[in-house]
Symmetry: C2
Subunit: 542 residues, 2 copies
């Protein structure tokens, strides 16, 4: 027997309808490529999204066709989020930091029919346009006054002209909530990039879960500045969550340096921000150097990579900004866990609180997780056993677009490629990526712990710990360090710095200093490149 309840599909357009009706006056503030600080209300967002949907329909965009974007965080990108998914097409956010060849490969693989881009990326699009035979329309996300005088792109369309030419009568279609809504490629270190194809259902359920008090805790009283790009797993879902709860949104555009971010935090009274650890280093450096503070920001979400405890301490003890450590991945839409205290944990001594916060946290409702050993058997939640993290839930992928990479699931669970421990309270801690783990004499050494300790040294700007070949132990840890400008530290001092902080046999065998550690398109350290670079490195212990 079925229940007798209304059958309303969970659609992304319903988030926008809700925002317009209940939070019509709420603001979206955007630092634009054109240089100005632009303001619009959710009411205007709703109207402009409807008009852009109408314009795209007039251009011939059909159901399920992919519309690509190459854009910063800004109101026009937000309008496309709702216009494209809302009309039944698929929003494909491309990462402009990828190599042009890879970008073209992805756009062709996704069969993008339209490509919308910020003017910053005009040269990039000019360079790849000839390699995108399937794209029927290129749209520059600007007004007529800022259109390029000349362009190698034939029939380049102007976003604001399309907007002006479209009426506001578009009605959001109703369809199956499992309809595809958006597409984001993950660029593995091996094989071709693979597309995660989200649905309206998965997105709306993820949004509910992300806004919960024990997740990001989002309300109509929040002012949210996503530093995490809208081309990186939908800015962790914040563009959707802001509409669900009626939070003010502040978009930083291309300016992610410390000063630009801090100015926006203060000027727009931001309460919550979100980004990867690398972006916060610049901000903290700027704030420290200029003896500034955060007047309104009370918490920041850090994910994408493990947050070094030193950074957590700097935010919390130095500036009173609570760090919300979170974990997710492209294949999870992206949120899987958030590190939010259970009852009583807030009253623990500082060291114990810090130890909890160093973990990536508890599964948000909807995500089920487990860790398994090499034999696939589930391991206990004892805070000691470490194994591959497996997840399942309504916002986890079943396979990649066009079956790329084969069938990823194992017995209905998605293997994350992360190695983790889970404690008896259910707090999960990533100890490593399975490909980054250092296998020393049959035992595993997690590289993240070793990096976190090095990053706590005042002279260290960034540190990566990788496996180096060892004739006896197979692999031993090698620490690769980028020093802070003007700071000095020796190999011996760094090795001594580990004393008492970790099991002795985990201590790196050697330290090398480099000018820069390579970062990937989403701001993560590219340890595979370092492994290549040091593949013939001879350890002094060898």
């Amino acid at each position: 027997m079925l229940g007798l309840m209304m059958q309303q599909p969970l659609l992304i357009s319903s988030l926008l309808v809700h925002a317009e009706r209940h939070h019509g006056e709420q603001e979206i503030v955007s630092r634009r490529v054109e240089g100005d600080l632009h303001r619009q209300t959710f009411r205007e967002l709703a109207s402009r999204s409807r008009r852009m949907a109408q314009a795209l329909k007039t251009l011939g965009v059909a159901d399920s066709e992919r519309v690509g974007t190459l854009a910063w965080n800004g109101h026009r990108h937000m309008e496309l989020y709702y216009a494209v998914s809302g009309m039944g097409a698929v929003l494909h956010t491309l990462n402009p930091r990828l190599h042009p060849e890879q970008l073209a490969w992805i756009a062709n693989h996704a069969e993008d029919k339209v490509l919308c881009f910020d003017m910053t990326f005009h040269p990039l699009v000019e360079a790849v346009a000839a390699h995108l035979p399937q794209v029927r329309h290129f749209i520059a996300m600007t007004d007529r006054a800022h259109m390029p005088a000349t362009s190698k792109i034939a029939n380049l369309l102007c976003y604001e002209e399309l907007m002006e030419g479209a009426a506001d009568g578009f009605e959001w279609p109703q369809f199956d909530e499992n309809h595809a809504s958006s597409l984001c490629y993950t660029s593995g270190t091996t094989g071709n990039p693979k597309g995660a194809l989200y649905s309206h259902r998965s997105t709306v359920l993820h949004t509910y879960a992300a806004a919960l008090p024990d997740s990001l805790n989002l309300s109509a009283r929040d002012v949210v500045l996503p530093v995490v790009p809208m081309f990186h797993v939908n800015a962790w879902g914040l563009p959707y969550a802001a509409c669900m709860v009626g939070a003010k949104l502040v978009f930083p555009g291309p300016h992610l340096d410390g000063k630009s971010l801090h100015d926006l935090f203060e000027g727009e009274k931001v309460t919550l921000s979100a980004g990867v650890p690398t972006v916060w280093q610049g901000l903290l450096g700027y704030v420290h150097a200029n003896q500034l503070r955060f007047s309104t920001m009370n918490r920041t979400v850090i994910g994408g990579s493990a947050c070094p405890p030193a950074m957590m301490k700097a935010f919390q003890d130095g500036y009173g900004v609570h760090v919300l450590h979170a974990w997710g991945m492209t294949e999870l839409s992206p949120l899987g866990t958030a590190c939010v205290f259970k009852a009583g944990q807030d009253e623990l001594p500082a060291a114990q609180r810090d130890a909890i916060q160093a973990k990536q946290g508890r599964a948000i409702f909807g995500i089920d997780m487990k860790i398994v050993g090499d034999d696939g058997q589930e391991l206990p939640w004892d805070g000691k056993a470490s194994g591959e993290l497996m997840v399942r839930g309504p916002w986890v992928i079943t396979e990649y677009l066009k079956g790329e990479g084969g069938s990823p699931l194992r017995d209905g669970w998605f293997p994350t490629g992360d190695v983790a421990m889970i404690d008896p309270q259910g707090f999960m801690q990533i100890t490593d990526r399975s490909k980054d783990v250092i296998k020393s004499g049959g035992e595993w050494i997690g590289s993240i712990d070793l990096e976190n300790i090095a990053m706590a040294h005042p002279a260290v700007a960034m540190a990566a710990c990788i496996a180096a070949h060892h004739p006896k132990w197979d692999e031993r840890p090698l620490l690769v360090v980028m020093k802070k400008p003007g700071a000095e530290v020796t190999r011996e001092e760094l090795i001594a710095f580990y004393e008492g902080k970790i099991a002795k046999w985990w201590t790196p065998d050697d330290v090398v200093f480099v000018d820069a550690i390579p970062l990937g398109a989403t701001g993560k350290m590219q340890k595979n490149k370092l492994r290549d670079q040091f593949k013939d490195y001879r350890l002094p212990t060898a």
Copy 2:
């Protein structure tokens, strides 16, 4: 094109699985009918729910069959919530405050096959058992030691014996998330009672929405005491929400007097409570008389009827307990709106904050609402126009069980029977039930405002305002007042009390004093009975 995301049905059992895995040590504390204060963990809840599901299956309960309960808020009732719905049967919570004849009518209409009851209700069940030919098993929710020596019920089963006889190997079945999960009858003032048949999907979506920061704001750090009965729209969803977020639950059993509740609030460190206004009067009276305070309770949800401003003031100004005004109904699972401030409203002057809090609040995401005039046309959200409130959303019914009462929807919207205004910020305020509104000379007078003013008078315990016949104006307001014990107030003083508080022509034409105002089975004033009682009343103004 469909998204490539996991297809996991939204099932009530998944709430319990999550609670067991992530909050296994969290407590459920129950004041039981047997008199003791019982404690169990979510892990024990999960195990006992599985065993009870196994026991019910062994008793022959089949898919979709209804299992009735007549029980207070307690751990065994909670176990049945999960056991019955989780196994694919339908939990039917019966209201023991109904007249036995009505109760039997409802159980027969629902075709209950099993009836589980607290020992309090043994005499009631003995009285109706003979009229329940479809019930195959009667289960007393107690242990062998507390079973009655004799019973008129043949083959009376003992809950704890069934539990002991069942193994813990039951596996929750997976099925369509639209499968019926639970059933709750609403007793209208006219016609037969009508059953709202909830689904797993509607329940889980309602739970997500209810836990949001701008709804009940529930976290693992909360200790929740639902005073609202589990036989009254699933205790407003709290038994589900507690499992989703890992909140401690405290169940008061049959003892809802001020002392019993206050003892539990303090002893178990309750942070959040929930109930109808009438129950809070007893509590506030007890706390005031004994000069007590609330050490841990920081907020209380008040719904079911409009919360009189005087009660809100007593909680907030007197005891520092924030009142969360909410609105819902059986047909909405029940939550529709919650009155939570938007940005900046918390800093408004007290009078403006009070005016906002007197409203029932903003729609929680998932619920869409509008107000319509007599012609069915939508009215503006200007805080002035008042019309019938219409709602829709995935946890709103489409029809009643077995089509009772015909098709309730109008153009896809459910007419709530409430008359409301909505202000430009989206805050909805109920001005009346449509059947309670007073139609004076073609204009509408809302009875709730008039009652709230009377309730603010120190001598008034309870006040109802009803329409009395008037030869010129058709209807005029008549105030029916129950005085506080020992307090005195005259008709003239009460009429003068309205001066300056309301439009002059809204002032009641007369006041009558009564010993008691009749309350219905869910604690609401039965104004239809008062209207009957005073249907020939001659107003002095007539």
